[in-house]
């Protein structure tokens, strides 16, 4: 039972990180970032390169390795986010039909990106060294491994920090303002371009964090971004694009559903269950669980 909850929580926190990135990007700059899968893999490969370099220098574990892995993954994804932004956001931002164009541009980037990883890193999966060690804490009948615990704790900390920062700081207020009314934001001195790039970097960093931690179990491969992207999309849809509480709840539901299905039915049924859940939610709430923002934006 505990193992079930733990694995649900791990999945929920990982997917939640990706989904919040997607949701956040959509809400503030109106661009649906379908290159999030590419950004995800970029973080994984950055961490892999870091691990390679460190191993060559003779360091295979310890805090330098762990923290370095996390930071390099986040940095890699943030840079990839900025890259996506400079291609798909900056040139298109004040053009007609930005939403559709942005969607297509990010799709094209993800198409190209996958092939580029294939060219440079080959089709094999790359493992990462463990970040949190290999130990395990026994609780009652079940137990929780360090990596699971670490993933949950770090994801929660990061999310809380980002949300707190959004709530209280001036930059956060500016981002929220831009979500509501881009013209009004421009009038109060918020630069859409600067803030947009900032948002892309932050959501990239969150995705990179998820990437490094998921790579502990699933490794890094050119197509490893597809699954998180799909699930992230499903969660941000079900949660209502742009709503942080909605996304968190949806992440919890989806994580639980995936863990339950994988345990009691079959791993292969997971996509069906997830798809069913999102269809159900959207049938009853066409704007997702917390999606009031769409109304507000228009």
């Amino acid at each position: 039972m505990i193992e079930l909850i733990i694995s649900a929580a791990v999945l929920a926190s990982m997917y939640g990180l990706v989904a919040i990135g997607i949701s956040f990007t959509w809400a503030s700059i109106g661009m649906l970032n379908l290159a999030q899968g590419f950004i995800f893999t970029a973080g994984g490969y950055a961490a892999y390169l870091y691990a390679q370099t460190m191993t060559n220098l003779g360091i295979t574990e310890g805090p330098v390795m762990s923290i370095g892995l996390l930071i390099s993954g986040m940095a890699g994804s943030a840079i990839a986010g900025l890259f996506v932004g400079s291609i798909a956001f900056l040139p298109l931002q004040d053009r007609a039909n930005f939403r559709t164009r942005g969607l297509i541009a990010t799709l094209a980037i993800s198409l190209i990106g996958t092939q580029l990883w294939l060219i440079f890193f080959g089709p094999q999966s790359k493992p990462l060294p463990p970040i949190f060690g290999t130990g395990r804490i026994e609780i009652g009948s079940g137990g929780v491994s360090y990596s699971q615990l670490g993933a949950i704790v770090i994801a929660t900390l990061m999310l809380t920090a980002v949300i707190m920062w959004m709530r209280s700081s001036r930059a956060g207020l500016q981002m929220r303002a831009m979500m509501m009314n881009p013209l009004g934001a421009a009038v109060v001195g918020v630069s859409v371009r600067v803030t947009g790039m900032r948002v892309l970097a932050i959501s990239g960093a969150l995705t990179g964090l998820a990437s490094v931690m998921l790579a502990q179990t699933f490794f890094v491969s050119p197509t490893s971004g597809v699954q998180p992207l799909t699930v992230g999309l499903i969660i941000s849809l079900a949660g209502g694009l742009g709503s942080i509480p909605g996304t968190v709840i949806a992440a919890a539901i989806v994580g639980l559903a995936e863990a339950l299905t994988a345990r009691y039915l079959a791993q292969s049924l997971v996509p069906f269950v997830l798809f069913g859940i999102v269809v159900l939610i959207l049938v009853f709430r066409p704007r997702g669980l917390g999606g009031l923002l769409e109304d507000v934006r228009e």
Partner: protein, 514 residues
């Protein structure tokens, strides 16, 4: 004014001024027109115009598209048939099938305005359904096509259900997941070839498989794909150019358009659904056709990469246009199927092309012409704005569009005249007019008055006698029959001369302001 009641408000009341019908002798109307047999659509769009220089009527071909289409389709069928190598024929066969699918997708995304990514899912369902039935029950190919059509319509119905409730983007993402869902379904299902990684073999073919080794058979197979493309284009033209297409064009670009459409009674949601179902039916049939073409089907049809590539095709050609879908397909399929030895780089190239067209063109290749024209007009406009006075009465941006240059000349003359007259307005002239509004005047004043006299009637000032010899007021004529002049201010004048002078002063003010 209901239709049934014999209401007295019918349009043909006695005493109502008859509205004027347009006479056929207008130069911009073309009298003779060839039409497609059995329809009201004309073959070539001709238009008449009046040439102000030669004073002659000219008939010009306004729309050269049908000619380009004819030429392009001829090339598409002639090149592979003439070359006749197997690789060429199969390449063009694939191009035709993909182009047909893309044309239908364009119908959904462009005409219906539904951002649906479930195209390949529909094709796949048609393909798998037809192939499965053909393998299991030995269905002949015409029945396979029928099955595909039915499955496609059913699929279209199912997918269109959430479209009524969901917002554009949510709908797009939901349908994006659908082909992934279908792929999973097929891999889980043993009957559908889950064991062979989703591949089905041995479905019925249009061209018997023993003929396919000969050049004739290969050419025939290619020709069937070409016919499929023609059918798709025909459906596209039938819907997009017809009533439904027009209604949807009035409704589908924005929320405001939707409000307008419902205000004039257009049931755009129903129209959208009809288009969606028709397109889905054709897509299903195309799927079944694909099965008959390759004699089976495979999982590749549901892959996300293929969907992205097809999106790239549409984007490169230009969203919402049939010609864009076809040309985009030729380019992308040409790259990815012909240069197979480039490995992943050809996908990168296709993606880069799509990215470039999103970044730098307004609407793909076929939007380029319009875009170039706009850039040119803007440059011309800026150039003309520099030489200010010549086009002064028109916005410099308008000037290139005005066909009759004599209008520009006339307006320019008017402006120069006004400038000259404005220079003549002095206190002495005004004083002269105040002393004697009527009678002999100095030359300058007379010319100014002449200019005022020939002013157009709407908003022209006039004197209104309230009480003869006692009170007069200044009014402005409306210029419309039935609309009384409006009183300009609340001043009354004791004598006619004073009123004349007041009118003169108003006109002087207007002249100064213009």
């Amino acid at each position: 004014m209901s239709k049934t009641s014999s209401s007295p408000q019918s349009k043909h009341l006695i005493g109502r001024r008859a509205w004027r019908p347009a006479w056929p002798a207008r130069p911009d109307r073309v009298l003779r027109r060839r039409r497609y047999f059995g329809s009201k659509r004309s073959v070539l769009k001709l238009s008449g115009q009046f040439n102000p220089k030669t004073l002659k009527r000219e008939v010009v071909l306004t729309d050269k598209k049908p000619l380009f289409w004819l030429f392009g389709l001829f090339l598409l069928v002639a090149i592979p048939t003439a070359v006749g190598s197997e690789r060429f024929l199969s390449l063009f066969g694939i191009i035709c099938i993909y182009a047909a699918i893309n044309v239908m997708w364009t119908l959904i995304m462009g005409t219906a305005g539904l951002q649906s990514f479930a195209t390949l899912a529909t094709v796949g369902v048609g393909s798998y359904g037809a192939a499965y039935l053909s393998i299991t029950f030995g269905l002949p190919w015409p029945l396979m096509l029928l099955v595909g059509l039915v499955l496609g319509i059913a699929m279209g119905f199912l997918i269109s259900l959430p479209a009524r409730r969901l917002d554009g983007l949510y709908y797009a993402l939901l349908t994006l997941g659908l082909s992934e869902f279908c792929r999973n379904f097929v891999t889980q299902n043993e009957a559908l070839g889950g064991k062979f990684n989703g591949a089905l073999f041995g479905a019925g073919r249009i061209v018997p498989s023993d003929m396919l080794t000969t050049r004739l058979g290969q050419t025939l197979a290619f020709l069937t794909t070409f016919v499929a493309l023609l059918v798709a284009l025909g459906v596209f033209r039938w819907i997009n150019g017809g009533r439904i297409g027009l209604l949807l064009k009035a409704a589908s670009t924005s929320k405001e358009d939707e409000s307008f459409a419902s205000a004039i009674g257009i049931d755009w949601q129903r129209a959208r659904m009809i288009v969606f179902m028709v397109a889905s039916g054709v897509l299903g049939a195309l799927g079944a056709f694909y099965s008959t073409y390759i004699g089976g089907t495979s999982l590749q049809i549901f892959s996300l990469d293929l969907l992205l590539l097809m999106l790239a095709m549409i984007v490169i050609g230009g969203l919402g246009r049939a010609e864009g879908a076809v040309i985009g397909t030729v380019i992308v399929v040409g790259i990815t199927q012909w240069f197979t030895d480039w490995g992943p780089w050809r996908i990168v190239l296709a993606g880069a092309l799509a990215l470039l067209s999103v970044l730098y063109t307004r609407n793909g290749l076929f939007g380029l012409k319009e875009q170039m024209r706009e850039i040119r007009t803007r440059r011309q406009a800026l150039h003309r704005a520099a030489q200010t006075t010549k086009y002064a009465e028109y916005l410099p941006q308008q000037a290139p569009d005005i066909h009759d240059k004599s209008l520009i000349a006339g307006r320019t003359f008017e402006r120069e005249l006004r400038e000259k007259l404005r220079g003549w307005i002095t206190p002495e002239i005004i004083e002269e007019h105040r002393r004697s509004p009527l009678g002999q005047h100095s030359d300058h004043l007379e010319r100014i008055l002449n200019y005022f006299r020939k002013a157009p009637i709407p908003d022209k000032y006039a004197v209104y006698t309230e009480v003869p010899f006692q009170s007069y007021r200044v009014v402005a004529l409306s210029g419309l029959p039935g609309v009384p002049p409006r009183i300009v201010d609340d001043k009354t004048y004791g004598s006619l001369d004073e009123a004349y002078h007041a009118v003169f002063m108003r006109r002087i003010n207007d002249l100064k302001a213009s």
